[in-house]
């Protein structure tokens, strides 16, 4: 990380966005005291993450994506009882807190099953229950919906939203822009360890409000064709989403210019399907930021 600096207000849901390797997880791990920064500093609720790790750990919850991080061979309820003890939940409160968490994440009735039989979405919900057992003031969520099916991800987003309503401060990393747009009060975009932009989703979107986006569904586009697109003077960024059989080209340019025919002309040799023009989204703002930073 190089010079990344941001503040998150109490009760705020703050998003940290960036491509793979940008430093999102590294930032979170420094804040939750799992990594020591080589220089600089950070504090959570006024406690220094380097010199006061125990004070920080008492007050935070940490939930990461993926299906590891749980004891698979024992039932979910035993996992929760163990972590309740480890995270300092008083014995007299443990049963009530575990029941509340099971209700919150919708695992009531499945708690006596071994975790190894859980789906990825259920494991993710169990992670959230584990991370909230001790009622932390600040919750760190590192790509919590990664690999979860659409219905499960929607339920998880509802759970995350309920954390904000409960007054928790949340720091969320995600690759899904619509998720960040829907959930976050403010967002920071980082790439290659540096902070590129910070603001509300609306403020970030306004950075590309003067642009238009042309979506081109194509087949067999080669890198040379993409380079030709990037060299068009009016084009500000070109990104490609690889799909099963096709590619989706997202070409940003200044609004009000009609360049679709020139774009198609540069794609000679490639088969072209649907072509559409639309207003920029948060994802386009993100792509523009990361592309311009060379990320």
């Amino acid at each position: 990380m190089r010079g990344v600096s941001f503040e998150v207000g109490q009760g705020e849901l703050f998003g940290l966005l960036g491509p793979n390797g940008a430093g999102k997880t590294t930032t979170i791990k420094m804040l939750i005291t799992l990594l020591l920064p080589t220089s600089g500093g950070a504090s959570v609720l006024g406690y220094d993450v380097v010199t006061e790790p125990r004070e920080v750990r008492r007050r935070i919850g940490y939930v990461f994506g993926g299906d590891r991080g749980l004891y698979e061979r024992v039932p979910a309820i035993d996992n929760l009882r163990y972590f309740a003890e480890l995270y300092g939940v008083p014995a007299r409160d443990q049963r009530r807190r575990i029941d509340e968490m099971l209700d919150l994440v919708g695992l009531r009735g499945r708690e006596n099953e071994r975790v190894e039989g859980y789906s990825r979405g259920m494991r993710q919900r169990l992670h959230i229950a584990r991370g909230l057992l001790h009622d932390p003031s600040v919750v760190f969520l590192d790509e919590p919906t990664i690999g979860v099916d659409p219905v499960g991800a929607r339920d998880l987003r509802a759970t995350i939203d309920s954390l904000r309503q409960a007054g928790k401060t949340v720091l969320l990393t995600t690759h899904y822009m619509f998720e960040a747009d829907a959930l976050c009060d403010r967002i920071a975009v980082i790439a290659k360890g540096s902070l590129l932009a910070e603001g509300t989703p609306q403020q970030l979107k306004s950075r590309v409000a003067d642009r238009t986006v042309v979506e081109i569904e194509a087949y067999g586009v080669e890198e040379a064709s993409l380079e030709r697109l990037r060299r068009i003077e009016e084009v500000t960024s070109v990104s490609v989403e690889e799909r099963d059989q096709s590619q989706l080209l997202l070409v940003q340019s200044a609004a009000g210019l009609e360049i679709t025919q020139r774009l198609l002309a540069e794609l000679n040799g490639a088969r072209v399907g649907r072509v559409a023009s639309r207003e920029p989204t948060l994802e386009d703002a993100y792509v523009a930021l990361v592309t311009e930073a060379g990320g």
């Binding site: 799992l34 990594l35 020591l36 750990r57 940490y62 991080g69 003890e85 480890l86 584990r130």
Partner: protein, 259 residues
């Protein structure tokens, strides 16, 4: 952290990890099946060799062999196992001191050895007609947990030092048989070269098997029980030091997770 809360954390952690470990095929093999196989071989060797001692002494030695194996592999790899399962970060990020999190794990791995002891005694009684007459049942009931505790604390040292070395798993394999020999689980230490004896004094299984055998067969088990507890205290101090070192290094070098 209050003493009551510390004890509760150790108790809950021990129960949880023991339940988790007993669901593992590997540890069932190491702690229950392997000692019975070794006990069978040892029984036949004892019978044909007309060696001194009793069948019960052989069974208890084989049981402690299983206890050492489960401690060595379970505790030696404890931190690495947690890292593979992605739980190490969750354990470190907890407000509880890491030593109070790891200690129940290593004691649980040693506790698996109780299956070994029970298994070899039952096996000897059923197949070889071995009488299971414990001379000092009260002392036996103290000696057994003392042995488990001291091995579990030795496991804490193994866990916190092995994790620093990439080739630790190969080292674990190397340590299994020599410690069986050096600590008198297989043959009396007096039969081995003289330089081995001082080495045996600092290893918990030496005193664990001595305490258990004396409680079962007759003799004064209490000095050996005392040595188990004394060594346990030393292991605890060494383990606390190496563990603190591990946690600091792992946070500085980003080695808590695999990713």
């Amino acid at each position: 952290m209050s003493p009551g809360r510390t004890l509760r954390l150790l108790w809950v952690g021990w129960r949880f990890h023991l339940a988790n470990l007993t669901q593992s095929g590997f540890f069932v093999l190491v702690s229950a099946v392997q000692p019975v196989i070794f006990a069978t071989i040892a029984f036949y060797m004892w019978r044909s060799g007309q060696r001194e001692g009793t069948l019960l002494a052989v069974a208890l030695g084989a049981g402690l062999m299983g206890m050492w194996s489960s401690t060595l592999f379970g505790s030696g790899g404890a931190i690495q196992f947690q890292r593979w399962h992605g739980t190490l970060e969750v354990l470190i990020a907890a407000p509880a001191p890491f030593i109070l999190t790891l200690l129940p794990i290593t004691i649980a791995t040693a506790s698996l050895g109780l299956y070994s002891v029970a298994g070899t005694l039952a096996w000897g009684w059923l197949l070889f007609g071995m009488p299971v007459d414990i001379v000092h049942p009260g002392a036996f009931a103290v000696a057994l947990p003392a042995a488990v505790l001291s091995l579990g604390l030795l496991g804490l040292v193994l866990a916190s030092t092995f994790v620093l070395y990439r080739s630790a798993s190969a080292f674990s394999n190397l340590l299994e048989y020599p410690v069986w020999l050096v600590t008198g689980l297989l043959v009396p230490v007096s039969l081995l070269p003289g330089f081995v004896e001082p080495l045996s004094w600092v290893l918990a299984p030496t005193w664990g098997v001595k305490a258990i055998r004396r409680a079962a067969l007759g003799g004064d088990p209490w000095p050996a029980v005392g040595m188990c507890l004394l060594l346990g205290c030393i292991y605890l101090v060494v383990g606390a030091f190496t563990l603190r070192n591990f946690e600091r290094l792992a946070r500085a070098q980003a080695t808590l997770s695999l990713t």
